[in-house]
């Protein structure tokens, strides 16, 4: 079992609210990622980080923001939630170098915006 945690697991929230999805890992991995996954669809990378104070946007445009102040922590924030943000959000981490670039995934947060 991978040592990567996400909270909350499920969240139902009203439009316009600010939310933060938490992701923590205890493996000391430098690289961390946030993916968005709709049912039956592929994972889309929305943010990634190479290490502390490093964040980049992924291919899928997202209104969310991330921060990386500590190696083990990579929270994702939505300033004003909308129904279009309803999705599953998956956090992952991997070692900075050397193959196989195996990504360890958290259990995900299922977000519903009403």
């Amino acid at each position: 079992e991978a040592d990567i945690y996400q909270t909350p697991r499920y969240l139902v929230i009203g439009t316009g609210k600010k939310i933060t999805l938490e992701c923590s890992q205890t493996m000391g991995h430098d690289k961390m990622y946030w993916y968005q996954q709709d049912p039956g669809m592929e994972l889309h990378l929305i943010h990634y980080s190479y290490g502390v104070n490093s964040t980049e946007k992924g291919d899928l445009s997202s209104e969310s923001t991330v921060s990386r102040i500590r190696t083990e922590h990579f929270p994702l924030t939505l300033e004003s939630a909308r129904p279009s943000h309803t999705s599953q959000y998956l956090c992952a981490s991997s070692e900075a170098s050397a193959e196989p670039y195996e990504q360890y995934f958290g259990p995900g947060t299922r977000l519903t915006v009403t």
Partner: protein
């Protein structure tokens, strides 16, 4: 942009048979191709990685092939078991391993 296609239909096979899943891609030349397993309500779990200069990789009952000319990877599970029932995802990665592009996955059901 790159496009990754996996078996669009769910795959049902009898226990003990070999399951073969397909991953085709276009508009991309990945350095690595990975396969993950995802169970309902859980995050994906890494299974195997194969490099662009490798033709085949094995791990226990799993076998992956990678044909960069056909732009295709095949994922085989031999002697399949009901516990192998899950969705299997392929993912392409660049040489730096900084970004990954996932397919939609193939749902596999192994019937006892």
């Amino acid at each position: 942009s790159q496009k990754i296609e996996q078996n669009s239909e769910a795959l049902n096979i009898q226990e003990g048979k070999t399951a073969t899943l397909t991953c085709n891609y276009t508009n991309y030349s990945p350095a690595y191709l990975q396969w993950y397993r995802q169970d309902p309500g859980r995050g994906p779990v890494f299974l195997l990685l194969i490099r662009e200069n490798e033709k085949e990789k094995r791990k226990e009952r799993l076998k992956v092939t990678f044909d960069t000319t056909l732009k295709q990877s095949l994922f085989h599970i031999t002697a399949s078991q009901p516990a192998d029932s899950a969705t299997y995802l392929c993912a392409l990665a660049s040489g730096t391993g900084n970004q990954f592009y996932f397919g939609t996955g193939t749902s596999l059901t192994v019937i006892p």
